[in-house]
Structure formats: structure tokens, C-alpha cells
């Protein structure tokens, strides 16, 4: 659908975009992101020739843009900018069908198209005769998006379209637009500097730095495997931690030394271990550290007259998790079963650790307030 082949842009001596190669599929939502001056906007503007290319080729639907008339090309590609840029002297209707006017559509066609489009964003028809300044910022940008959609272009370029809106409006417009994009199957090139926005909207995120693509992958893949330190830094610690439940295994967060008793321990000893360790249940393991079952204070209470050793009263068939299962799935299971904890076993059923609700609570704290290392550093510095 959209292909960049060795695309280069030089501005008197300085190279803004270096040998960019990228292939964007039809219906794909691609977010370009990077620090200011990384060439993301330049890259986007080269697509509709607002900026000329110094080297390489850009192909839109297989056709080289250099061989097309620039004006025709722009009419066939939607464009949305951060400052919205509605024509202040035109009504909303005239603004929506601006490209239609340039393409010399009949009045009926323009009227019909404007009404059709306005329905997509759930604005009442009276708005057609209003002027841009009578609308809120969010409504104006909805019209900005409709203007880009008017001539039904397969490709839409967006330059931080939601950047100037307040967070709540931005959020709802993002949701609305993502839904719309899926329905209409448009290919989107979306420039942003907001990582959250990119992660939320993009099917693919292209991270750029100094005119080069550092990483181009799905949001999941970028969170899981940041290509280098720059990407990690750009994502930020918080996001990497937030992304962690998706990719972390149980092994990484479990507590390594669960309190166990070997098979054959007497109940008396078991009780004293519980008292010493302040726990109300114990995992029973055999000599090879294979998990056999567990006992808790209640079962000891009920059976201490009949039984002598833990084997007799322990409960078997305890719910365990494998040490390399994903945390995401584990949390869900633990919570659904209402279990207080889950022993972690390796492939041979040997006990290697334990995940308790406290472990999960710690993880939630980390996610919300960072992983605590900053705090530790602070206290260390204070000492």
C-alpha cells in the first residue's frame, strides 16, 4: 500500500531522514514516534509531497509519487494536522467537503457526503451550517478528520492530530478514531510524540531517531523486546514495568524459599515450624523436593488426636503453576480460584518457589509507583 524505498531527505547539508525502508500494508495503522527532530514529520510530509524527497522512492499503491501530479496526489490522500486548520470563513459543511469542492463535485453530492460523514462522528446535522469557531476543540478535530475522509482516500496522514486536545477529549477521540479506522479499513500514517497514544492506536510502531528507524514492530513486541537502550529509555521505566505482566514469567516474581516440611515430619514439629515462621500452612515435599501436598492449621486442629505425621492429614492435588508460565495467566487463575497462594513447580514437579497474594500486591505497587528502586536509592542516599 505504502512503500518507502531508501528514502532520504537532506536539508542543506543536514540529513533529516536517512535511507528509510518501510512497507505499510493496506488497513494498517502505523505510528511514527521519536524525539523532536527525529524526522518523523518529515517522513510523513514526503508522502503527499509537502516536502520533496532528496533520494529514494515512495510508492503509494504501487505508484511512484514522483510520477504523479502533486496536487492530484494530495487530493487522493487524507491529511489531518494538530492545529486542525479548519477554514474559519467556511461553514462546517464547506470544510468537510473541501476536497470535493476541489474535485468539482456537484452540490447534491457534496451535501449528501457531508451528512453521511457527520453521522460517523455522531454530531447533529445542524452543525453543517455552523462555523468552526462555534465548535469545541474536540468537535473541530472531528471535523478535521472528516475532511480527510471526505474523498474516501485509502491513505490518511495524521500529524499529532490529538496533541492539542485536553486528555479526556483526546482519549475519547482516540477510541472513536480507532474504531472508525477499523470500520473503514483505512491505512493510517500517524505521527505522535506520545508513547501511550502510539501503544494504544498503532498496529505497528516505528521508532525513529536522528532520521533513522530504530525499531518498527507491534506494540507488544516493542514492550517485550526493546531493540536497544534508546527504545527502552524512550518507552520509559514505567511503561516497561506496566508491560511486564504480559511478558513476565512466574519465576521472575516468585519467592524462592517457600516454607516446607519433609514427608514424615511429626505434627508437633510442624506446629512449631508454623509458629516460628508465622505461617498457617506448610507445603509437604519429599526428599527430592517434589511437592506432595500441604497442611494447614485447621486440618492439624481437627486431626491432631488421630494422626502423628504430616503425610496422614496433608491434602493432595494442590493447585500449582509451572515456573515458566506467564504471570498474566497466573494472576488470573489465582484470583479466580480464590487461592491464597500457588506453589511454583518445575517440569519434574519439584517445588521451586511460591506466589502468594502478597507477591501480587507487591507487583501492583511496583506497577503503580515504580519498582521501588528509586525509593531505595533515596533512602540509601539519605543514610
Amino acid at each position: 500500500m505504502l512503500e518507502f524505498k531508501n528514502v532520504t531527505k537532506r536539508y542543506d547539508g543536514k540529513t533529516a531522514v536517512k535511507n528509510l525502508n518501510l512497507n505499510i500494508k493496506k488497513g494498517e495503522f502505523v505510528c511514527f514516534i521519536g524525539p523532536s527532530g527525529c524526522g518523523k514529520t518529515t517522513t510523513m510530509k514526503m508522502v503527499n509531497r509537502l516536502i520533496g524527497i532528496s533520494g529514494g522512492d515512495i510508492l503509494v499503491e504501487g505508484k511512484n509519487i514522483k510520477e504523479q501530479d502533486a496536487v492530484e496526489l494530495r487530493r487522493s490522500i487524507g491529511y489531518v494536522i494538530q492545529q486542525i486548520g479548519l477554514m474559519p470563513h467556511m461553514t462546517i459543511k464547506e470544510n468537510i467537503v473541501l476536497v470535493g469542492t476541489l474535485l468539482k463535485w456537484s452540490k447534491e453530492k457534496k451535501d449528501q457526503r457531508a451528512r453521511e460523514l457527520l453521522k460517523l462522528v455522531d454530531l447533529p446535522e445542524e452543525y453543517l451550517n455552523k462555523y468552526p469557531h462555534e465548535l469545541s476543540g474536540g468537535q473541530q478535530q472531528r471535523i478535521g478528520v472528516l475532511r480527510a475522509l471526505a474523498a474516501n482516500p485509502p491513505l490518511i496522514l495524521m500529524d499529532e492530530p490529538f496533541g492539542a486536545l485536553d486528555p479526556i477529549t483526546r482519549d475519547s477521540l482516540q477510541d472513536e478514531f480507532k474504531k472508525l479506522q477499523k470500520e473503514l479499513g483505512k491505512t493510517i500514517v500517524f505521527v505522535t510524540h506520545d508513547m501511550d497514544e502510539a501503544l494504544k492506536l498503532g498496529d505497528r510502531i516505528v521508532i525513529m531517531k536522528d532520521g533513522e528507524v530504530v525499531q518498527a514492530d507491534t506494540p507488544d513486541e516493542i514492550l517485550r523486546n526493546p531493540a536497544n537502550e534508546f527504545v527502552e529509555e524512550f518507552l520509559g521505566k514505567d511503561r516497561l514495568i506496566q508491560g511486564r505482566p504480559d511478558v513476565t514469567t512466574v519465576e521472575q516474581i516468585m519467592e524462592n524459599k517457600p516454607i516446607t516440611v519433609p514427608v514424615g515430619t511429626t505434627l508437633r514439629d510442624a506446629i512449631s515450624i508454623m509458629r516460628d515462621k508465622h505461617v498457617d500452612s506448610l507445603l509437604v515435599v519429599d526428599s527430592a523436593n517434589v511437592l506432595k501436598g500441604f497442611i494447614d492449621i485447621e486440618s492439624i486442629n481437627l486431626n491432631h488426636k488421630k494422626a502423628k505425621v504430616v503425610d496422614e492429614i496433608m491434602e493432595e492435588g494442590i493447585y500449582t503453576v509451572s515456573h515458566h508460565s506467564l504471570l498474566r495467566d497466573t494472576i488470573h487463575k489465582i484470583l479466580r480460584r480464590g487461592a491464597k497462594y500457588a506453589p511454583v513447580v518445575d517440569d519434574n514437579q519439584r517445588l521451586v518457589g511460591i506466589v502468594t497474594r502478597a507477591t501480587l500486591a507487591n507487583l501492583v505497587y511496583d506497577t503503580i509507583w515504580g519498582d521501588g528502586t528509586e525509593l531505595e536509592e533515596l533512602t540509601q542516599a539519605a543514610e
Binding site: 487530493r75 491529511y79 492545529q83 486548520g85 470563513h89 476536497v99 476541489l102 469557531h133
Partner: protein
Amino acid sequence: METLNQLIHYVAQNGDYIWEQFYRHFLMTFYGVLFASIISIPLGILIAKYGKLSSWVLAIGSITQTIPALGAMAVIMILLGLGTNTAIVTLIIYSILPITQNTYVGMKDVDKTVVEAGYASGMTRFQLLRMVELPLAISVIMAGIRTAFVIGIGIAAIGAFVGAGGLGAIILTGTNATDGTAIILAGAIPTALMAIIVDLFLGWVERKLQPIKSSKSKAA
């Protein structure tokens, strides 16, 4: 009281003549401003697009504005001789600066993002000018024309010295006559009235051309 009576008498006697000169005066100014607009609006657009020219053009415009109108008219008279043309050329020269300046400012004031949006929507340069830039700049340009017109009415009055006629001729007659106060007034009052009426009218036009309208005013 004496003067007022004389004025009424003069006006009653020479009503047709005053009206004729009033019309002539108006036409002279009108043509001056019209030709100046034909030169200045494209010039203003040009210097707004090519920034480097703007400081030069505006500086030259400012310099011409400092030359006394009577002096300029005398110089032009040497070239063009006596008559209406000399007055009109002077008017053109004095109208160029306000119109060029306002066109320049009006064009510069057009929101860059709107221009970008229009351009990216696939407008040609000419379409951009016709559909976006001029409609948005027109009221500011109109304000320049209004200024030029009002100044022009004053300058046209001096035109009498080079034989261009107009209300200035009546004033000149008054100054030459003994006890001519009433005749001076008969020329000066219509001149002032014309300036006021033109200013009000063009002010109204300027407001009408305000690009940013509200849907309510359109419905009303």
C-alpha cells in the same frame, strides 16, 4: 451670523456648481484609489509571499508618504502638466502605501495552519489565494482602502492648485475673494462631509467582509 447668511446665499446661488465639484472631487479620489488598488493589492500579495522584498517596498512607501502632497503635485505637474491627471497620479502615489501595507499585513495574518491544510488538501496556489488567503485577508485590505480613500479626499482638495477642479476649487475661490469665508466653507464643509460619509460606508463594507461569521447572523 453674517457668514452663515452668506453661506446659505452662496449655496442657494451655486448649488449646481457645488454639486458638480463634489461629484468631480469624489470621482478623482475614486479613480486614484481604484488604480492604486490595482497596483497595491498584487504588490502586497507579492511581498507577503516573498518576504525579502517587503522591507524595501514598505520603506519606499513610507518615504513617499513623508513628502508634502502639494510638493509632490508640483513635481508631477512638471511631468504631466496641469489638469485632473496630475491630481489622480498624486492620489495613486499616496494611496499605494496604506493599501500595500494592509494587504501585506492581511496576508501575513492568515493562519499558517489553515494555509497548510488547504495546500495539503490539494489546492493549487491560485485556489489557495482565491479560496483561503484573499477571503481571510479582505477585511484588512478593505481597511487599507478606507484609509487611502479618506486621505485621498484631503489630497484631492489640493488638486485645485493644478487645475484639477473639485471642491478645492471652491475653497481656492474663497481664499482669493475678499471676505470669502462663506465660499471657503461652501467648499470645506462638503469635503469634510464626503470624508465622513465615505469612512462610514467603507467601515460598514469592511465589517460585512469580516471572514469569520457566526451561523446566527447568517440565519438572521
